[in-house]
């Protein structure tokens, strides 16, 4: 009986052959960066700096996970960063109106989830291209944020929010822990639940999924809903980090979320995805920016560096196919 049980597991050779080589590009690049920056600047590998890198990557990790769910179904959520902005502004407005921080957080997350719901309904039920729909909600959500906030940042001075980014366990702040829990949960959902298999099936072959009874519309709705919900969580982390709710457009978060997904080896055509890949991708981008700053490279060069890394990663994954 045990022999049968072990025979069920893939052998090492098969595992190696089936190894997702494109997905190993990001960990390799991260290692390289750590070695190079560590050698170039002795402060890079201090616990204080590692704490800063983790802290800086928490929001991006959550957004990259959100983007991964949508991309796995061969879609894209261009609205993810402005949805976060809207969530943050709603949080700030509700808090400044005198409600408790709990209610403010709930309202912010609910607002972002609602945007996800709208995306899902229009893309899945209306059958309109995701690119167009989420481009529309990108604009609508950031416009709404500007209107609600009247264009001004709203300070959110709450002990809970302060603790979220400033305290924690050792070098792991609560924000980082939230991001880690999001990543682990997402991994379980993607690989250990029915929804996970179904969304990879929809991304891989919509037709095959439909013929086998997978409810495509429901799956598509779910991923945009998840994306909105996670953008809401990211909004909480953002407000905690900044100490205020700003209606600023967070375009770099959008670009970096897609970049992290690409770096993580997730296929933009859908059907193939991991969570660990984009998470490492997000860490890579945060380390890159952090290292360049330590080395005194002007901020103006950072987007350029990020762009080069992403294009290189894209080449690498193509080369390995």
């Amino acid at each position: 009986m045990t022999a049968v049980a072990t025979a069920d597991r893939p052998r090492l050779g098969e595992r190696l052959a089936a190894a997702p080589w494109p997905e190993l590009a990001a960990p390799a690049a991260l290692l390289l960066l750590v070695v190079v920056f560590g050698a170039a600047d002795s402060t890079f590998l201090t616990t204080g700096n590692i704490e800063a890198i983790l802290q800086a990557s928490a929001i991006l990790v959550v957004l990259a996970v959100a983007q991964t769910f949508v991309v796995a179904t061969a879609g894209i959520d261009l609205s993810v960063a402005s949805t976060m902005t809207l969530g943050a502004v709603v949080l700030g407005q509700v808090y400044s109106s005198g409600a408790g921080i709990g209610w403010a957080i709930l309202a912010g997350v609910a607002a972002a989830t609602a945007v996800g719901l709208v995306n899902g309904a229009i893309v899945a039920k209306g059958g309109i291209t995701d690119f167009i729909v989420t481009l529309g909600t990108l604009s609508a959500a950031s416009g709404l944020a500007l209107i609600l906030a009247d264009g001004k940042p709203q300070p959110v001075l709450s002990k809970f929010m302060l603790d979220l980014s400033a305290s924690g366990i050792g070098i792991i702040s609560w924000s980082v822990l939230v991001a880690a829990v999001v990543a682990v949960t997402a991994h379980v959902v993607l690989f250990r639940t029915r929804l996970g298999v179904h969304l990879l099936a929809v991304g891989g072959s919509t037709d095959a999924a439909r013929s086998t009874g997978v409810r495509n519309v429901r799956v598509k709705m779910s991923v945009y809903l998840i994306s909105g919900l996670l953008a809401g969580l990211a909004a909480v982390l953002l407000v905690a980090r900044v100490g205020a709710a700003e209606p600023a457009s967070n375009t770099s978060f959008l670009l970096n979320s897609v970049a992290a997904v690409v770096l993580g080896g997730v296929s933009l055509f859908g059907g193939r995805a991991t969570i660990i890949g984009p998470v490492v991708g997000a860490l890579l981008l945060a380390s890159l920016v952090n290292g360049l700053t330590l080395l005194g490279v002007s901020q103006f060069y950072q987007p350029l560096a990020v762009g080069i890394v992403v294009v290189l990663a894209a080449f690498l994954t193509r080369f390995q196919k």
Binding site: A5, D8, A18, T193, V197, G204, S205, R210, G213, G271
Partner: protein, 261 residues
């Protein structure tokens, strides 16, 4: 008591039909894909469905397996009228399909494809996790029960050959104690040896008691493995022949319209 004459299909009284389709219609906008299809499937037999490209064969079977909803007509399964709103309902009722495009997801593994749409889960209440180990070992049984040569149930479908993919799709249709297995051109893309293997699979399924509806353009194949044949022409079912009493030429005549019906 009527006597069975020539190659006509025995009447309903004389024969045990699993599935009876009467006057089924389906249009896509202005395209009348199926205008009037009435066919019956005798239990435990291989029945072929023939017709030229575009005759409406795939559309007819997609109505039977819950992918399309027919515009009119009736379908009776074991004497009970049925109407399926989804593939899942048809599968639950015992109608499985091997689609023309196989309906496999390349990036998923063999076992994931075998269980697609009806994954086994374990857990409490709303928290349900996939029973991966259970599904893997059951998938191995499904594959070995049909003596299919697939490298491993954990390999991705993308890495399989055409024949292996076909076999996986058939194993998925056959592995659930189904009553009826519908196959849409299962050997169209296969070589001689792989075709022979799939034909063996089909005979095996019939011998285990399943009813098969086989769409094929290959009349030699139909003569080899089918018991009866329905012909379709321009969206209409135009006649039935017993394989034992017909010839390839007669079938060609039915399909082209040279023989009225």
């Amino acid at each position: 008591m009527t006597t069975i004459t020539g190659s006509r299909l025995p009447t309903a009284k004389e024969q045990d039909d699993v599935l009876v389709v009467d006057g089924l219609r389906k249009s896509f906008g202005s395209v009348h894909a199926v205008k009037e299809a009435s066919i019956r499937l005798p239990r435990g037999k291989v029945t072929a469905l023939i017709g030229d490209n575009g005759a409406g064969k795939s559309t007819l079977i997609r109505c039977l397996c819950g992918v399309h909803k027919p515009d009119g007509g009736t379908v009776e399964l074991d004497g009970q009228p049925v109407s399926f709103h989804s593939p899942t309902q048809a599968r639950d009722a015992g109608i499985e399909t091997v689609h023309q495009n196989l309906a496999l997801v390349d990036d998923l593994t063999v076992w994931q494809n075998l269980f697609l749409g009806r994954e086994k889960t374990r857990g409490f209440g709303p928290v349900q996790l996939l029973d991966r180990r259970g599904m893997r070992s059951q998938a191995k049984e499904m594959v070995s029960a049909l003596a299919i040569n697939v490298p491993s149930v954990t390999s991705r479908v993308r890495r399989l050959s055409g024949g292996q993919r076909q076999a996986v799709s058939i194993a998925r249709a056959a592995g659930w104690g189904s009553k009826i297995v519908i196959m849409d051109e299962p050997t169209a893309a296969l070589g001689v040896q792989e075709t022979a293997r799939v034909e063996d699979l089909i005979r095996g399924l019939r011998d285990s008691g399943m009813t098969i509806l086989l769409i094929s353009h290959n009349f030699d194949q139909i003569m080899r493995i089918a018991d009866g044949v329905w012909a379709m022409r321009a969206g209409k079912s135009v006649g039935y022949r017993n394989v034992a009493d017909t010839t390839g030429q007669e079938l060609v005549g039915l399909v082209t319209g040279a023989i009225p019906a």
